[in-house]
């Protein structure tokens, strides 16, 4: 069983489109995260939810909107995609809080043309 799964694995789209990436964890964790990894491999946290409540919201464009329907899911919706949004997006989860061990998903490679 996959602990943290993301769909899709690859996403190629045109500028201006709206797209979503889904994340699910079956570990029973309370906290979930979205990270962006750019071409230089810098890993930056974007959002974190704890029991469906937003607890970390870094400075990201408001075109990015996380949605947590329940504590096992944290989806990322992106409006009006731009070239600079091209990156690998990782979902992660941890049992309680940010300092706990995080379990990462396989990543979604987003390419905006």
């Amino acid at each position: 069983d996959t602990a943290v799964s993301q769909t899709p694995k690859y996403l190629v789209t045109q500028m201006g489109n709206d797209k979503s990436i889904k994340c699910e964890q079956n570990l029973g964790h309370d906290t979930m995260y979205w990270y962006k990894q750019d071409s230089k491999k810098f890993l930056k946290i974007m959002f974190s939810y704890n029991n469906k409540e937003l607890i970390i919201n870094e400075t990201v464009p408001n075109r990015f909107s996380p949605k947590s329907p329940d504590k096992a899911h944290l989806n990322l919706h992106i409006n009006s995609l731009e070239l600079g949004d091209s990156a690998v997006y990782f979902c992660a989860s941890s049992q309680y809080r940010a300092g706990d061990t995080q379990y990462f998903g396989p990543g979604t490679r987003l390419t905006v043309l």
Binding site: K41, F42, A98, G99, D100, Y103, G107
Partner: protein
């Protein structure tokens, strides 16, 4: 905010011990130090976590001096499969901030 600094890359040979140091001069009282390993096209994977002194598990050791302004990940007897990027993470246990280092690209040669 505890920013972290790591060497960009390191090279070593199979069977050697590798030490990767991370600097975090502004680490806060509630921050833990965690190291992750990332292979190409995969998500980061937890290696080890500590708060102070020394922590050891089946794959690595983590040394943290008394002032906690740096930490050293020690990989004993590395193999080719240890070739990866290693990230140092300083995490506020109050869940308000998470800072990943820029990562150290470790290359192991035969």
């Amino acid at each position: 905010l505890a920013k972290t600094t790591q060497p960009i890359s390191m090279d070593s040979y199979e069977g050697q011990e590798v030490n990767i140091t991370c600097s975090h001069n502004n680490i806060a009282t509630n921050d833990y130090i965690t190291w992750y390993q990332q292979f190409p096209s995969q998500g980061p994977r937890f290696i080890i976590q500590g708060y102070k002194t020394k922590v050891t598990n089946e794959v690595a050791s983590l040394f943290i001096p008394a002032d906690r302004k740096s930490s050293t990940l020690s990989l004993p007897r590395v193999s080719l499969s240890d070739t990866a990027v290693y990230y140092c993470l300083v995490g506020d246990v109050r869940a308000s901030k998470i800072i990943f280092g820029s990562g150290t690209r470790l290359s192991i040669r035969p």
